[in-house]
């Protein structure tokens, strides 16, 4: 079944690029929802039927690490998988994200081919 996706990024440009890349990659997905930070993402997860989250790390109000930590404390949404898409590539911060439940990470900038290669298997 096609998965509903939540894109979390404070850049509307990046949300559009990720959305376009998913389409160009020919990946099978349903609805695409958008949130501008972790707080908006939590509210969206509790309101909509979302199967996977693609999230930035550096964001205002609530960053991607804080979002993962808060999400893990909410039983209704804690099992929804989160994949990080960020300029952050350091083992420390990506390691922290994975320890909080992130299932993988994609570095910005990326090409549509890279999106297909990395996200294809989990979509």
């Amino acid at each position: 079944m096609a998965k509903n996706v939540l894109l979390v990024d404070d850049s509307s440009t990046m949300r559009k690029i990720v959305s376009r890349s998913l389409r160009q990659a020919g990946l099978d997905f349903g609805e695409i929802y958008e949130a501008g930070d972790g707080l908006e993402a939590l509210a969206m997860l509790e309101k909509e039927s979302i199967d996977i989250v693609l999230s930035d790390i550096n964001m205002p109000n609530m960053n991607g690490i804080e979002f993962l930590r808060e999400k893990a404390n909410r039983p209704a949404i804690k099992d929804i998988p989160v994949f990080m898409i960020s300029t952050e590539t350091g083992d420390d911060i990506i390691g922290e994200a994975k320890s909080l439940g992130a299932i993988g990470a994609l570095k910005k900038p990326f090409t549509p081919d890279k999106v297909n290669e990395v996200l294809g298997p989990i979509m």
């Binding site: 300029t87 350091g90 090409t111």
Partner: protein
């Protein structure tokens, strides 16, 4: 560390991967004196082993052209789309710089980008900072990437 090379490499990677506009760094005998008449500045603060600011400087037509290429649509005004798009480029270039510095054992933290629109904007301040300015040539015109920093 070759900060200028790291800046150039990070910028080329962003444009090749996500913007699909061919750019090349401009050779200049006196980059310290280079100034680009800019209508849009995106700045991102750096903290940690290197303190300072990274800025992208664009004339309005270049900023609109780059934004249009990123979004896949025509952009005819220097507004929120351009501020967001050029800010995200600054974020990705700074991310590339952070990755390159990590190889040399230098850690930096990145702030959230801030973008300013106006006439003939210039950066100043950060007393004692070293300035690296790289002008780029593109089919849309010239733009610049500037780094002002102090080594901790």
């Amino acid at each position: 560390m070759e900060l200028e090379k790291s800046l150039i490499d990070a910028t080329l990677e962003v444009f090749a991967s996500m913007i699909f506009i061919e750019i090349e760094p401009e050779t200049h005998s006196d980059r310290e004196a280079v100034a680009i008449e800019s209508n849009l500045f995106s700045l991102i603060g750096l903290a940690g082993d290197i303190k300072g600011v990274l800025a992208i400087q664009c004339p309005s037509n270049v900023a609109m052209g780059i934004t249009g290429a990123m979004l896949g649509m025509e952009v005819t005004e220097l507004g929120e789309d351009a501020k967001d798009a050029i800010g995200e480029i600054a974020n990705m270039v700074a991310g590339g710089l952070k990755e390159a510095l990590a190889v040399f054992g230098k850690k930096i933290e990145l702030a959230i980008p801030t973008t300013i629109i106006g006439e003939s904007i210039r950066t100043s301040g950060l007393s004692g900072a070293t300035r690296v300015m790289v002008p780029f040539l593109s089919p849309l015109g010239r733009f610049g990437i500037e780094l002002r920093f102090i080594l901790s």
